[in-house]
């Protein structure tokens, strides 16, 4: 079909052909050393002013931080979160009205289990990271990714949440020596192996990356709760978020784009995720780090170990970066498009049902004329049996899982007269997951072994299903809609 392109490329803002070296700073007229945004030339000190100001403005605009709030900074050692920590430090050091008025602490989540690092390698990394964190003078904490598997379902009473055994920080009264703290960090637990099995069960790298980011977010929120923080700041740059917009579209996660890129992501009710680096491109961040000697620690990730075409995330990142090189407005255009989106039918945020995995609004209550029902129909018509294809693989119930001490396990399986007290909640079917997971998470778990899913997903799904069954039973006697 013929494409109409309005004389195509001529409308695109082509990359400026001049280098920074031949230009003057747009603020003071000194020699420029760096070009920010698309074509703003800055000298070193004006760039710093611009950068710090923009960072502060991002916080200011949103008005979600109150004076004296405690904010947990998610530090990965990478370029973006290192720059974020540096900017917070500068912001706190500034005088008078420009000062950032919150109390920060750092948290590092070790993901060595994902890339198959040995216990020793992980310990070395944690040592290096703790050296960097110690330098900041802020309180800091270290946790390992597999601890996410210990997280109880969100609806369970808060008293059941205890500090994880492997959780360590300089706030621990028993250990004032750094070495002592790191020795105590358990990098090889029963959960480590379970986490490895879970990751190994993922049939695609796309699903694996989604799972890792889900575990990481869950753990961040969980640790924040334990430590009494209600805000967690992450270092995602505008570049990363733009590529996330496109990747989310591609993964059927369109409905979560608005929360996934928001400055204040409120999907976790009591803990808000903040994204103060969202107005910077990755390139600007790298320039800042280079000009102001901000150290970062390169660590291999699933993405860096795989090729560009290995997963939807890596493909999308490569795609966006290539476009950005040729058309420097790509990232900002995609970003602003994302800012204009909202989730369809999200007029009443309190009544929103949430996905038990990613906590974004459930996007599966769609009409009959929809991609979802068309897909279901396709599966039905070419299988004659509906979409419950994973039924057999998940019949196997784990007997008496030791981690299952939640009081809700005393409840009835929901199938009998209420007297059985059986521990059915550990078994999960694709069928029941399809009722409690969003479209994108259903696609993700399609590629995984359902029996190995973290208990926070399984338990929540089971709980939601039990409640909806209870509701069905009494619905004729309910006088008004209650959520």
């Amino acid at each position: 079909m013929c494409q109409v392109d309005e004389e195509g490329i001529s409308l695109l803002e082509k990359k400026p052909s001049f280098g920074a070296s031949s230009r003057d700073c747009m603020k003071c007229g000194d020699r420029a050393v760096v070009i920010a945004r698309i074509k703003d030339a800055f000298c070193r000190s004006c760039f710093l002013t611009y950068f710090v100001h923009r960072f502060r403005a991002t916080f200011g605009k949103a008005k979600v931080i109150r004076d004296g709030d405690k904010v947990l900074l998610a530090f990965s050692g990478g370029q973006c979160s290192s720059a974020m920590v540096s900017l917070v430090k500068r912001g706190l050091d500034q005088s008078t009205h420009k000062k950032l008025r919150f109390t920060p602490a750092l948290i590092y989540i070790d993901e060595g289990v994902v890339t198959g690092q040995s216990k020793e390698e992980r310990a070395t990394t944690c040592q290096k990271i703790s050296d960097i964190m110690k330098e900041t003078g802020f309180p800091w904490y270290i946790a390992s990714l597999e601890e996410a598997l210990e997280i109880p379902a969100q609806n369970s009473s808060p008293d059941t949440c205890q500090a994880g055994s492997s959780f360590h920080s300089n706030q621990d009264p028993n250990t004032d020596e750094l070495a002592g703290k790191l020795e105590g960090l358990c990098l090889e637990t029963e959960h480590t192996q379970r986490c490895r099995d879970l990751l190994a069960s993922a049939k695609s790298l796309t699903a694996k990356q989604d799972l890792v980011s889900n575990l990481r977010n869950r753990l961040l929120v969980h640790k924040a709760r334990q430590l009494g923080y209600h805000k967690v700041a992450v270092g995602d740059s505008g570049t990363r978020l733009s590529s996330g917009i496109l990747a989310n579209l591609a993964k059927g996660r369109g409905a979560s784009i608005p929360v996934a890129m928001a400055f204040a992501d409120d999907r976790w009710s009591d803990v808000t995720i903040l994204r103060p680096m969202r107005e910077f491109t990755t390139k600007e961040i790298v320039m800042y780090n280079a000009l102001f000697n901000v150290d970062s620690l390169f660590q291999p990730t699933l993405a860096t170990m795989a090729g560009d075409y290995a997963s939807i995330d890596t493909l999308t990142e490569t795609f966006i970066n290539e476009l950005q090189t040729n058309f420097p407005s790509t990232v900002s255009t995609v970003f602003r498009t994302g800012e204009k989106m909202c989730t369809a039918g999200s007029d009443d945020p309190d009544a929103v049902r949430r996905c038990s995995m990613c906590k974004s609004a459930l996007d599966t209550s769609v009409g009959i004329s929809s991609a979802l029902s068309a897909t279901r129909f396709s599966l039905h018509i070419s299988r004659k049996e509906g979409s419950s294809t994973n039924e057999n693989s998940c019949k196997a119930t784990k007997p008496d899982d030791a981690t299952c001490t939640d009081s809700s396990s005393e409840q009835c399986c929901g199938q009998g007269d209420g007297s059985c007290h059986s521990n059915q909640m550990k078994s999960v079917s694709a069928e029941s997951l399809s009722k409690t997971l969003c479209y994108g998470c259903q696609v993700t778990v399609r590629d995984m072994d359902l029996n190995l899913l973290p208990s926070y997903i399984v338990e929540e799904s089971a709980k939601i299903e039990r409640r909806s069954r209870m509701r069905d039973e009494i619905k004729d006697f309910l006088l008004c809609e209650e959520s």
Partner: protein, 365 residues
């Protein structure tokens, strides 16, 4: 080892790209047909007694569409009056073969065919336009003119509706394009199964959830005759990127195409985002957010010997037009208005969408 059909146990001949299931030929046919029928029912695309124009280009999508519309109409008694509608741009050598295909289809399927020519609709053939403006921007013309040609042709044959062969791949690609160029108005509309219900003739897409590969499979095994109609003018580089991206996504996860459509369906645009108001062209009545639709601006340029008018940022041409207008008595267009026209329906003011002007626009479906 022969693979057996998941449905009937016979020997399978293909693996469905959409579901990954191995099926025999007959089971694939019935699944494919049942899905299109279901889509038509679910979206309530047609009403009994309606006259429906099937846009027929001789390409695979429209060939399969014509075939299946006829088949389902009879099988399920839709009660539709189906007309094939083809556009002859007047490009020597380019349309000849595809129009032959359409004519053959007409005979095979026994459906009435109406061919509308650019000459008939606009007074210009594409060949004549190319002579005027050279090869550089003619895709702007043939795309804008073609989109309207279908509507104008459909009005000529008194159709109630236009059915097009846009498939799931096309729609997914358009979602991506609209995000890349920041076009929220089209982003909102492009996943709708029926568009243009208010004012212009409604257009609907029964292949919205159908994979391009399955359409090819269906045509291949049904031995449907089609002509490959890629536009002879090179497609835009930017859309090319989006297409490559989509193909790569599909390799990584075959369901990506439908996943993207789901994403598109579950998004809407914030209420405080300014949207262009849709009106109609003061000259031809076609739907347009400007007083003059794109086609009329292009025609104006052609007829006045300023063929670059309305294409990109040709300020000089606009100034020339303004001059001409100032001299003319019966001129009704204000230069400022016509000069701003870049797309006929939805480009918002540049202040409302940052970057909208930095990425090329395309006429949507």
């Amino acid at each position: 080892m022969p693979v057996s059909c998941r449905l009937c146990g016979g020997s399978a001949i293909l693996k469905r790209p959409k579901t990954g299931d191995a099926l025999c030929k007959d089971c694939f046919f019935s699944a494919f047909e049942a899905e299109i029928h279901q889509t038509i029912l679910d979206a309530e695309l047609f009403k009994k007694g309606e006259r429906v124009a099937v846009g027929a280009s001789g390409g695979k999508d429209s060939t399969v569409l014509a075939y299946i519309m006829k088949l389902l109409n009879e099988r399920h008694d839709y009660g539709l009056d189906i007309v094939l509608l083809s556009v002859d741009e007047g490009i020597t050598g380019y349309r000849d073969d595809s129009l032959e295909t359409v004519k053959r289809n007409q005979m095979q399927y026994d459906l009435p065919l109406k061919i509308v020519s650019y000459e008939e609709l606009y007074g210009w053939t594409m060949d004549a336009i190319v002579k005027q403006i050279g090869l550089k921007s003619n895709c702007t013309f043939c795309g804008v003119f073609r989109r309207q040609a279908l509507d104008r042709g459909a009005l000529l044959v008194k159709a109630d509706k236009i059915v097009t062969g846009h498939n799931a791949d096309d729609i997914a690609e358009t979602v991506i394009m609209n995000v890349l160029r920041g076009d929220v108005a089209r982003l909102r509309r492009c996943t709708a199964i029926t568009t243009g219900a208010d004012g212009a003739l409604p257009r609907c897409k029964p292949f919205k959830y159908t994979y391009e590969k399955e359409i090819v499979m269906y045509a291949y095994f049904k031995k449907l005759d089609y002509f490959s109609t890629e536009c002879i003018y090179s497609p835009n580089a930017y859309r090319g990127h989006a297409r490559t991206y989509l193909k790569d996504l599909e390799k990584i996860r075959p369901s990506s195409i439908i996943d993207i459509i789901h994403s598109g369906e579950s998004l809407s645009i914030k209420k405080d985002v300014k949207m262009p108001t849709q009106g109609t062209c003061t000259r031809c009545g076609y739907i347009s957010s400007r007083p003059l639709c794109k086609a009329c601006v292009l025609l104006e340029g052609l007829n006045k010997g300023l063929p670059k008018l309305g294409i990109g940022k040709e300020h000089k041409e606009r100034k020339k037009l303004a001059l001409l207008q100032a001299q003319s008595f019966n001129q009704t267009i204000e230069p400022a208005t016509s000069a701003n026209v870049t797309t006929e329906s939805s480009t918002p003011s540049s202040s409302s969408i940052a970057g909208a002007n930095t990425v090329p626009q395309r006429i949507d479906f």
